[in-house]
Symmetry: C2
Subunit: 682 residues, 2 copies
């Protein structure tokens, strides 16, 4: 955590930092003030006029939003030569600038009454206190707050962010550059993707002027060079217990892998030969493929890296150092047991507001059903006092809910929606059994196929204007609509709420047990303990370094244009645009950015930094604190690092800023080169 940097400043200097590491603890200073969240990705300001560098795959939603079969920005890329040509990123694209972090643990868990409550009541009380802390903090004009839990409820920090919601697309390379290698190369090294794009933040129709922006380095990197990554890693599981790891290994990962695979196959089949459906499904397929490979690697990692065995060993050490740990671990295991009995069904129907990623597979397969759930849940929550509502349904969430509802118009495709839902209704039948109320409802409507005929023939959820209207309606108004998709959501809702109640009780129990677990863990860890990733701003230090994935094989830390030409086939996903290929083969155009050690234009590099999903787009800084690249992936061997970090094998993958500049010049983006304070070389 940035706050922990002063404790390790000497170490960071020894690693090679040529600036004062203590500067990194100042989130509103230089350089941390330039690092922003896109909500799910990281980005950074690189000019005084609000120019933002992030990954191509983080800007993909904005690129897709502006793409049509006639004007295919995914395939062809995009460059705004002037501010006027910059394109809206679509609803839902935000830039969050972190402005303050405060420790609010005492205000949440300091209340003596909490100890006397039932687990369910305690959970409710903690959520209410978090809501209060958020509400008192948020202000009009885009000041957004959240309370984040660290060490699983041991510590709470309130993070204040400035929310900029007018974000425009400035530059995106062709998909053959930004996603060169596609799903084949995803999570792989050696890599040759130019995974970067530029956005710009606007306020009141004018470019936003950030207090700090990063200087982009054109110097290039060499093996062994110091780097740091600042960003918003999403989630890690390094403090899950052996019992919990076992359930991930035995149930969650195998089941999710099966479901990701099925859903990808279904969407691929729907899009076959139909470019318009392919475009509609593109970002979902991309994200599903990404998740699938991630889950597969971790699944292999459980066995290969003996993760469960490592947890068992850690817990043995804990118990040896602190005999009371045995009881704590036992309580955690018992609490988990209360929610595991129905997990085969719950994996399909879980509904977590606002998270397309973590929610049940039924909604991932059907954006239409997901929208209906949003509508029905919101109608249920809205009459309550704001403070008492469940997470995701507060007043401040409304605009985001509306934005999602608008944005989803682009990914809704009734044929794909129905095909996916058909599969998961079948799975629900198997997992829930005949007595399950949702299964019963489907059966009473003539079985899956007839039910789906009815479901898709009698709903207006797919119509944007109707859907937006629904979001403002009461339960009574919704009922009067006689809309099939809303009716199905109403049948699902009690099942979901029954499940949520059990989950809440379990969370309340954990809030009681987990702090003791971390205290015990600290006794055997010695020294600094960093919390699991939770979407808050973090810093990781490392250097450019290769690794040995297997016997007699050493992967070096940098790739070049020569390697891209070796991979080039002219066929997706190894299909670079013609202008890039011509430039790559033209010594006059490669010379200005040729690295003297590599004798070629660098593309990507590996570092030993410790990153995960959410870090995508993170600025990578060199020893001078200048932007020398953007993190965009980890190697295959790193994926299970979410559970267990292995210094010999875990590597982050970055696009080199030198390559960003070269590609930009090849595409005629000299205006942006100048805006970043650099001089074009071509």
């Amino acid at each position: 955590m940035p706050q922990q940097i002063p404790q390790i400043a000497d170490g960071v200097r020894k690693m090679g930092a040529q600036f004062d590491p203590n500067r990194l603890a100042d989130l509103t200073g230089d350089p941390m003030g330039a690092v922003v969240s896109l909500g799910g990705c990281t980005a950074s300001f690189v000019s005084p006029d609000g120019l933002i560098a992030t990954n191509h795959h983080c800007a993909f939603g904005a690129i897709q939003y502006n793409s049509t079969p006639q004007r295919d920005l995914i395939t062809n890329g995009f460059l705004a030569k002037t501010r006027e040509e910059e394109l809206p990123s679509g609803p839902g694209q935000h830039v969050y600038v972190t402005t303050k972090i405060e420790d609010v643990t005492a205000r949440i868990t300091g209340d003596a009454k909490l100890a006397k409550m039932t687990d369910a009541a305690r959970q409710k009380a903690i959520e209410r206190k978090q809501n209060e802390l958020v509400m008192e903090c948020e202000k009009p004009g885009g000041v957004r707050c959240r309370v984040a839990s660290f060490f699983e409820g041991s510590q709470y920090l309130r993070i204040t962010q400035l929310d900029l919601n007018d974000v425009r697309l400035v530059y995106a390379p062709a998909n053959g550059v930004g996603d060169f290698g596609g799903d084949i190369d995803n999570f792989e090294w050696p890599r040759h993707a130019g995974d970067f794009s530029f956005l710009r933040a606007y306020v009141n129709g004018q470019p936003y002027h950030p207090a700090h922006w990063l200087k982009v380095s054109a110097e290039g990197m060499n093996d062994g060079d110091f780097v740091l990554v600042a960003g918003y890693p999403g989630r890690t599981f390094r403090y899950k217990t052996a019992d919990e790891v076992k359930n991930y290994q035995d149930f969650i990962y195998p089941t999710s892998i099966r479901y990701f695979t099925e859903l990808i196959n279904i969407l691929d089949a729907q899009g076959k030969g139909k470019r318009d459906i392919q475009i509609r499904n593109a970002s979902r397929v991309k994200s599903l493929n990404n998740s699938l490979k991630n889950f597969q690697s971790t699944n292999e990692g459980f066995v290969k890296d003996h993760i469960w065995e490592a947890r068992v060993a850690r817990e043995k050490a804990m118990v040896a150092a602190d005999p009371s740990a045995a009881a704590i671990l036992e309580q955690i295991a018992q609490t988990n047991e209360t929610v595991r009995k129905t997990q085969a069904r719950d994996t399909i129907i879980t509904w977590i507001a606002g998270t397309q990623g973590a929610t049940g597979f039924m909604y991932r397969s059907s954006p239409m059903l997901s929208s209906a759930m949003s509508v029905v849940r919101l109608a249920e929550e809205r009459p309550k006092k704001d403070l008492d509502r469940d997470a995701g349904y507060h007043d401040r969430d409304f605009s985001r809910i509306k934005e999602n509802a608008e944005r989803w118009q682009r990914v809704m495709e009734p044929g794909s929606d129905r095909a996916g839902l058909q599969y998961f209704l079948g799975e629900l039948q198997k997992a829930g059994g005949e007595s399950d109320p949702v299964v019963k409802f489907v059966a009473s409507n003539g079985g899956i196929d007839k039910f789906l005929d009815w479901l898709y023939a009698n709903t207006k959820i797919g119509e944007k204007d109707e859907r937006l209207k629904m979001l403002g309606e009461t339960e009574k108004q919704l009922t009067a609509r006689n809309d099939s998709m809303l009716q199905f959501a109403s049948v699902l809702l009690p099942a979901v709420e029954e499940m949520d109640a059990r989950e809440n009780a379990a969370s309340g129990a954990m809030a009681r047990i987990r702090p003791a677990y971390f205290e015990s863990l600290r006794k055997v860890s010695g020294g600094n303990l960093y919390p699991d990733a939770n979407g808050t701003l973090r810093i990781t230090f490392g250097k450019l370094e290769g690794y040995k994935p297997k016997d007699a094989t050493w992967l070096t830390s940098q790739t070049t244009l020569n390697g891209l030409l070796e991979k080039e086939t002219g066929k997706e996903p190894f299909d670079s645009p013609k202008n890039l290929l011509a430039a790559a083969r033209d010594p006059k155009k490669t010379a200005p950015y040729t690295d003297p050690e590599l004798h070629a234009v660098p593309i990507d590099f590996l570092s030993t930094c410790d990153t995960t999903g959410g870090n995508s787009g993170s600025p990578t800084l060199n020893a001078k604190g200048e932007l020398c690249g953007l993190l965009f992936d980890g190697n295959y061997e790193s994926i299970d690092a979410d559970f267990l970090f292995n210094p010999a094998m875990t590597r982050s993958i970055h696009v080199d800023s030198v390559y960003m500049l070269w590609v930009l010049e090849v595409d005629g983006g000299q205006n942006l080169i100048r805006e970043m304070g650099l001089t074009p070389r071509m």
Copy 2:
């Protein structure tokens, strides 16, 4: 060539040789006197009692010969603890010790009359002179001679060899060691195969005592260490013209790849679920897979390494230095044209005596038809004066023909035979057309299926005793047999002979043109020119060195037991025997052979030596001239080196002698360790 070593002795010393390189020119001295040919593979004496080290895949015929479903030496390996337990290698297993090399060019091409002959007559005259030279040289008691052509007819050398034909199997590791990685790892690096076995030569029932044998090193190798390989490389194409390379690229390679693939599929289908058929077909499938991968890599190499373009450039340089080269190249191209018109058909029906590998695909698919061709051709040639017979049918070939006929009993399997022949008769129909006499004969017998019914129901060629009898019969006796397979061979024969006549005329023309081509080539090559490989004894120098197969990837030069354990799956082809796995995981058993730099037991290593097929089993000598490994393969990138050598990518693959000793000890072969003058360490 060994004779050329004195010219480069200083260079060899500079590379690291600690012995006098001039010693290598003495073929009957130390160490070259210990290097022997197995006919298709290389081997070496490693004890005064005739113990021979070679590759597992070179001894595979002997292992297979002694294997039955009940006593499966392929799967389980074999160790003779005493001389009495050593097993006969089967007919056809020879060891050839080179004893003399003489230049006989003048005696062959010095005759002024040759220049006045037609091309066909010249070819016949040259063959006759070669025959004479062989006959005057060969002596009873196993003195065998051959005349080999160097620089495609520019130079002729007579090689005298001692032929030892009582060869016994002494030790073979389990297939899971000797062929660990199987066809998946074939031609690949990193590699973990223990591709070695031990044979022993006998004379008059007693172990043969060679004049020289190699000292086996237990010291181990390190990256950068000097090595040399002495062996019998089979064939390279480095002096083929651009016109010839183009035909390899456009016709020969694509066609052969298609045929290898079909034949492998056919044999696999036949063996499915039937272990006895699998064992019968095993060595053929193995050899076909090897050829397939070889051809595929070269086929890719034509494009990737721009081989044709390199030849065009070389020929431009030749013409620039020597304008007469243009006419020479044109004559070569015209001569090639005379045999290319019918090559689609000829690829199927070509009959080259004694070469199962280079002969037409019809005979490769059908060992029974191949046997019938042998019988019919021999009956035709036998009545002629020995000197006038075609190559392969001289008196001295009779014993080898008989041995092959015996040996083939093991690989004959009528079901597989028929299935393969069925496919190639179909191909012949397409390539030859209706007017082709062979196609006509099949059609007149009711078409392919009915013809095959008749062919396999009315032949005794599959019966060993009958087949051996046939080899001694006259044409008249054979006709009287009314044997279907012999009848079919008699129909094939005129077609084959018509083709041979054209080939002979072309060869005669080449004998006239090619020496001028090499003279011209010498002018632009400057300095030493080595001849293409032709199955004669050669030496190549190099060092242990990794390589960069692609961007950001460096493959290091040595593999270890740790890498084997990483690859181990328990399933073929990654299924090491249990005793080896147990030993690999037992520090007490690995410690005695652990390399201090690698911190593990070494398995295989890469070198920069220039080798090809036929070099398999070649002793690899270290700077002291001791055996430090056996060559057994090249990397994938090296395969097209038969056409063009690329120092950055071409690597030979060797099994480390340290691994040979370790495996031998694990298998209880301490008797052999002692015989090699070493002390067991376990």
